[in-house]
């Protein structure tokens, strides 16, 4: 480990019995999962090495200056009641020049590598093989993760391959957050309304802990996440698994839980992004939920939709943690979490907004079933998949359209009945409007906005659909 | 007195030449003690040079102030006129306007607020606020990419 090069030989280390010694010792072992020492990637390595370099300079200065101070105190302390006056020295210009110049030289020695590293680490990753792009979007208080081009969406747990540069493109949905995985790279603030970029690479596998580092509100302390670095093959397997349909539910609890989920959780949490259109549309769906939340701020209590952008739960059962990297994902923890999320993560929006909590309709039976369902949300085994069911395969136009309706996220906001959610209910839409209206409304959502609804559908929604999918979707809508 | 400009200048404004704009003399007591500070004489030297170069320590008559007022009006008219010349100056437009504004600013501060006739310390005090303000906010603007903004193109 190259940090060792900078350390003095072992026998001289005991000289520095300072409060900082633990830091040095930790630099020698792999340390803790969120430590800035024992780093696992080139970016964090460089930063740690620079720190160690500055640290030893600081130690040297510390020893010299504090030594001089303490020596002076002991040597020149007044003994007895000696009232005589010492030599009345007023100053020494030579000394002033010396102790101005020496710090300048030391600081130049620090400034040169500093500036070099600033420029080295700025911008996109170095040109070393393929780069994996990952989009991260910070929310109060969780992380939305998207693998653009791969049609994979997840939350709070970021899988990356070992040995490949990863380029994070980061946005914030609400306030300033800071993306920080100490073992891999220093932090980068994410400012709303702007985009930030951070490149890093993992040289070894492992589960690296991350945490939001910029104070972002009530649950800031619990806005954590994990970065899981895997061998490239394992990473590819994971990507593939995220695109496979869910395995069939086995337990009765889980089957019952699915219904509870659809009724209570489905307006905010998506589980369908294993389908490519769903994954591509997830951002749009979350943006719509986000607008609904903001619009709610200006409405009276009774008129609120109480919707909010919520973490994607596709294949949730394969994750390691819940609640944004908070606690390990076990059935018991999950039950506890669903029963009272505030107990584990105070301030979270789910407890505040979700209808079952507001109206207290969730029975312990429901909770148990929900947990069972979520634990079973896993992809089918790789060999069990015949054909990716992304809505383009087989069936009539109406069946394909129905599938698109779910997978593209329409169902997140529109019900197929007559009840209004974030968007109007679509039952009998064909009786009310003609094809062109429907088509235009999908391609260009701003064209017609039904009174009483906010224009939250993104302008680019139509781009996520092929023209075949669009035709199928319209065919389906006309049957409602 | 070598060149005609300074000769005219003295003739117009100074007592010893019985100028047209009779300027009453003011108490020119120096701060006590003089030229203190870590830089010794350097600061006062520079300021003193500036003093001599521009005016001298006197206050002026109404006529003089009116002349200054007319000058300010002319500068303002110039500014607005330049503005109406549609892009007549191209890249020089902004620096030109800033220069004119600075000229007006300095003239008002120097003569209307009679900083030119007052103790240099007051100039130092005001300049410290003004210069720091300009300096730090120029840095803010450049850090925020507002000094030479990139052309407006979609990313």
């Amino acid at each position: 480990m190259n940090l060792r090069r900078l350390l003095p030989p072992a026998r001289s280390r005991s000289l520095f019995l300072l409060p900082v010694v633990p830091a040095v010792l930790a630099a020698c072992n792999k340390g803790d999962a969120q430590s800035t020492f024992g780093t696992s990637g080139p970016v964090a390595d460089t930063q740690a090495n620079l720190f160690i370099f500055i640290f030893w300079i600081a130690v040297a200065v510390f020893v010299l200056v504090e030594g001089a101070l303490i020596y002076s105190i002991i040597r020149f302390r007044r003994r007895g009641s000696d009232d005589s006056l010492p030599d009345q020295t007023h100053g020494n210009n030579k000394l002033e020049v010396i102790w101005t110049a020496i710090p300048v030289l030391i600081l130049i020695a620090i400034a040169i590598p500093t500036v070099k590293i600033i420029y080295d680490q700025d911008g996109p990753p170095p040109d070393q093989g393929p780069v994996l792009d990952i989009k991260v979007r910070a929310h109060q208080w969780w992380w939305e993760v998207e693998y653009p081009g791969e049609d994979v969406v997840t939350a709070n747990e970021i899988h990356i391959p070992i040995g490949q540069w990863v380029n994070f493109t980061m946005h914030s949905d609400d306030v300033i957050h800071s993306f920080w995985v100490p073992k891999l790279a220093g932090k980068m603030d994410i400012v709303p309304g702007d985009v930030r970029q951070l490149a890093m690479k993992a040289d070894e596998g492992g589960m690296f802990f991350g945490q939001c580092a910029e104070f972002c509100g009530e649950a800031h302390a619990k806005m954590r996440f994990r970065v899981k670095a895997e061998e490239p093959e394992a990473f590819q397997d994971w990507l593939d698994s995220m695109r496979r349909p869910p395995a069939e539910l086995v337990s009765d609890d889980a089957i019952a839980g699915q219904k509870v989920f659809t009724d209570n959780c489905g307006s905010c949490h998506a589980t369908n992004t294993w389908q490519a259109p769903g994954a591509r549309n997830e951002r749009t769906r979350l943006a719509g939920l986000r607008s609904a939340y903001l619009d709610d701020r200006n409405k009276a209590d009774g008129d609120r939709t109480n919707l909010i952008a919520a973490p994607n739960l596709t294949h949730f059962g394969t994750r390691d943690t819940l609640g944004a990297g908070l606690i390990s994902l076990t059935r018991d923890n999950l039950v506890e979490w669903i029963a009272d999320p505030d107990d584990i993560k105070e301030g979270n929006r789910m407890k505040e907004l979700a209808r079952p909590y507001r109206e207290n309709t969730l029975t312990s039976e429901d909770v148990r079933q929900l947990a069972a369902y979520l634990m079973e949300l896993k992809p089918v085994a790789a060999d069990a998949v015949m054909e990716p069911d992304d809505g383009t395969a087989g069936g009539t136009a109406v069946e394909r359209g129905a599938s698109t309706f779910d997978s593209s996220g329409c169902s997140g906001c529109h019900s197929t009945g007559s009840d209004d959610r974030l968007g109007p209910g679509l039952a009998g839409i064909s009786a009310r409007q003609n094809d062109d209206y429907i088509r235009e409304s999908i391609i260009n959502p701003g064209a017609f906005v039904v009174e009483g609804f906010s224009p939250v559908m993104t302008e680019t929604f139509g781009d996520t659909l092929s023209s075949d999918e669009l035709n199928d979707l319209i065919a389906y809508l006309k049957t409602l | 007195m070598a060149n005609p400009i300074s000769r005219t200048w003295r003739k117009l404004f100074y007592h010893d030449s019985g100028g047209y704009f009779l300027l009453p003399e003011v108490d020119s007591a120096q701060p006590e003690p003089m030229n203190e500070g870590p830089f010794g004489d350097a600061g006062p030297q520079v300021v003193g040079w500036f003093n001599r170069w521009t005016y001298g320590d006197r206050v002026a008559t109404p006529l003089f102030y009116t002349a200054i007022g007319v000058l300010l009006a002319i500068l303002t008219v110039l500014e607005v006129w330049f503005f109406t010349l549609d892009d007549g100056f191209g890249a020089f437009f902004v620096p030109m306007m800033l220069l004119l504004a600075l000229a007006k600013f300095v003239i008002v501060v120097a003569f209307f607020m009679h900083l030119r006739f007052d103790k240099n310390l007051l100039t130092l005090i005001f300049a410290s606020g003004f210069v720091i303000s300009i300096a730090v906010f120029m840095i803010v603007l450049s850090v925020q990419d507002k000094v030479n903004p990139a052309p407006l193109v979609a990313p």
């Binding site: 633990p22 002076s72 020149f76 980068m188 580092a213 800031h220 | -």
Partner: protein, 632 residues
């Protein structure tokens, strides 16, 4: 003298004792005492907040307080310690000592001085009222937009914070103007700038910094308030607003503010060290110059608080270099202090110990500061406990120890009694040990990945032991402060013969009786050299060292006519009234706006009431003579 015929609105206070005499006082010493007492009470409040924070963090997954309360506590701890403790405590020493050290009878604007104090007091009370009126501010002491926006902080807490700090800003501005003028204009004859005590120099630099930095934060706070109250867009990303602008404005104020906090303490120890080393300050011009340079360079380093914001490599490099450069004058100061002790006869009493403690701890804080002057390492340290450790080493290890040094040093001058040495030393050692136990492990915590401002943390990240040690250290700190309170009570109730100059000190304040009479100097001293009082006591030194005639600065004769012919500014209620007006005027922007009929303007009616009160006070102030004819 111009006699102004204007009806007296309120007759001025006449009694020199009792509550009304304090409300009407314009005596810089009394105002200094008010500042000191208030600041110390807030020190206890802020300390209790800190203790609760440390209690919560003593162990992992603790739920002593809810995150909501925790966020309020650390916000108010920071705000309190910066604005209600260190700044007013420095103001207390400025008030007490600057006029005495420059040989003046009061500050330049005694009533403005009273106004500063009352505005500060009311502002601080207003700020703390938020605890009882719907929750304290909870967005951190640097209140980063847009978390402070109405969408994400819907309660009144942040409005209390913004308006409270605005009021405190008014107070600080008034005080800073006052001290700039006092120091430049009211020095005793012969005291040129380079013959002023270092403390006065630092007071001057601090005041200039305050005068120029406070308007920036005022603007930022006004913008924040308007965003919250009038729905403007300054920091609203949805309308294109940039939260980074807040950070620029805040740190443009915030970094000079750091030096506003530390320079007074540096000034104090520059006075204490020579006295108890019994030799002059080493390199006086260098120390003064370094202070002035720090004050100037402090304007051009603010973005080092923003290294992880993503300002780009050019900005980060430039600010890294400017930040490293500012370490140089700081180093010069430290070396000169050490050189001052070198070869002296160090009398290690409490004041001296606190000063030496200041140097020792400030070195640590300075060195850790260099490590995050480098943006790549700062990327790992920013917003972690490493930063918390750093700024506590400079602000507690620095400013607070320095202020305690000043307290022990000037107590005999202010009260005529010495604080107990034994308790003082106990307090120092407890504080030093407790301080290092509390904040030392935080370096390690930060480097081990613990972010700051987290209400709780998970088990198993290696943070438990350090946090436990840190919390235990906090208890020691609390104990040491308790010792000071005991010392205070015992000293106050003790009987001691007042000594005018117990330390054989160097500066003018020791040339007058302890505690000083209302008029300070019976005769305004004539100053011949730096440390003039010292050379009047030791004329042989002057003769030896500078070849000047010892007789040139013969001891001032005792003035026989006492205060008889001295005109002192009369007491006045008007500053108090104007302060009330200011506070009500600003508080009017709380959630009490009414819509003007026929418009959609939200009108702050309460502000109008405040303005009326303020105008009343101002008019009375304007037409009240500074002192009664032949007063006192």
């Amino acid at each position: 003298m111009t006699t102004i015929a204007f009806p007296t609105l309120i007759s001025r206070p006449t009694s020199y004792t009792g509550l009304w005499s304090w409300i009407g006082t314009v005596d810089h010493k009394r105002i200094g005492t008010l500042y000191g007492v208030t600041a110390f009470l807030y020190f206890l409040v802020g300390g209790i907040e800190a203790l609760i924070i440390r209690g919560q963090l003593a162990q992992a997954e603790s739920d002593l307080v809810s995150p909501e309360i925790f966020n309020q506590l650390f916000t108010m701890h920071g705000t309190t310690m910066v604005f209600l403790v260190v700044m007013p405590m420095s103001a207390a020493f400025f008030n007490w000592m600057v006029p005495l050290m420059i040989g003046a009878r009061d500050v330049a604007f005694p009533r403005l001085n009273a106004f500063s104090y009352w505005t500060f007091l009311f502002g601080s009370i207003f700020l703390n009222l938020s605890f009882f009126l719907g929750g304290a501010p909870d967005a951190g002491w640097f209140g980063y937009a847009n978390l402070t926006g109405i969408t994400y902080s819907p309660g009144d807490g942040v409005t209390f914070w913004a308006l409270g700090l605005t009021i405190l800003g008014v107070a600080s501005l008034a005080a800073s103007f006052n001290f700039v003028v006092t120091i430049l204009n009211m020095r005793a004859p012969g005291m040129s700038l380079m013959k002023m005590p270092v403390f006065v120099w630092m007071a001057l630099v601090t005041s200039v910094l305050m005068a120029l930095a406070m308007p920036i934060i005022a603007v930022a706070l006004i913008q924040l308030t308007l965003d919250r109250v009038w729905d403007t867009n300054f920091f609203n990303p949805a309308a294109g607003g940039d939260p980074v602008l807040w950070q620029h404005l805040f740190w443009l104020f915030g970094h000079p503010e750091v030096y506003i906090l530390i320079l007074p303490a540096m000034g104090i120890i520059s006075e204490v060290l020579p006295v108890f080393s019994r030799k002059p300050l080493f390199g006086y011009p260098a120390v003064v110059f370094a202070g002035a340079v720090i004050g100037f360079m402090g304007w051009f380093v603010w973005s080092h608080h923003m290294f992880t914001v993503g300002l780009g490599p050019a900005a980060n490099s430039a600010f890294a270099i400017s930040t490293m450069l500012i370490a140089v004058p700081t180093g010069v100061k430290i070396f000169n202090w050490i050189a001052t002790t070198w070869g002296g006869r160090l009398q290690l009493n409490s004041a001296m110990l606190f000063s030496l403690g200041f140097i020792a701890m400030f070195i640590v804080g300075g060195l850790s500061g260099v490590s995050h002057a480098s943006p790549p390492t700062d990327a790992q340290q920013q917003d972690t406990y490493y930063i918390v450790a750093h700024f506590h080493y400079v602000l507690f290890g620095g400013a607070i120890l320095g202020l305690f040094a000043g307290g022990f040093y000037w107590w005999p001058k202010m009260t005529g009694k010495r604080l107990g040495e034994k308790l003082g030393k106990w307090q120092f050692w407890l504080m030093l040990v407790g301080f290092n136990l509390t904040f030392g492990p935080m370096h390690w915590l930060g480097m081990n990945g613990m972010p700051r401002r987290i209400a709780t943390y998970a088990d198993g990240l290696g943070w438990e032991m350090s946090n436990a040690i840190s919390s235990a250290g906090a208890l020691l700190l609390a104990l040491s402060v308790l010792l000071f309170i005991i010392n205070f009570i015992r000293t106050t109730s003790s009987r001691q013969e007042p000594e005018d100059d117990p330390w054989d000190a160097r500066t003018l304040e020791w040339s007058i009786p302890s505690p000083p009479p209302a008029y300070n100097f019976a005769r305004i001293p004539q100053v011949k050299s730096l440390d003039d009082f010292w050379y009047t006591k030791h004329p042989e030194l002057l003769h030896d060292e500078r070849g000047e005639e010892a007789a040139a600065s013969a001891p001032a004769e005792e003035d026989t006519h006492g205060g008889g012919s001295i005109h002192l500014p009369g007491m006045s209620y008007y500053p108090f009234i104007v302060s009330i007006g200011v506070v009500i005027g600003v508080a009017g922007f709380m959630d009490v706006l009414v819509e003007l009929p026929g418009t959609n303007i939200q009108f702050p009616w309460l502000s109008a009431v405040g303005i009326v009160i303020g105008m009343f006070g101002l008019i009375g102030w304007t037409f009240e003579p500074v002192s009664e004819e032949g007063g006192h």
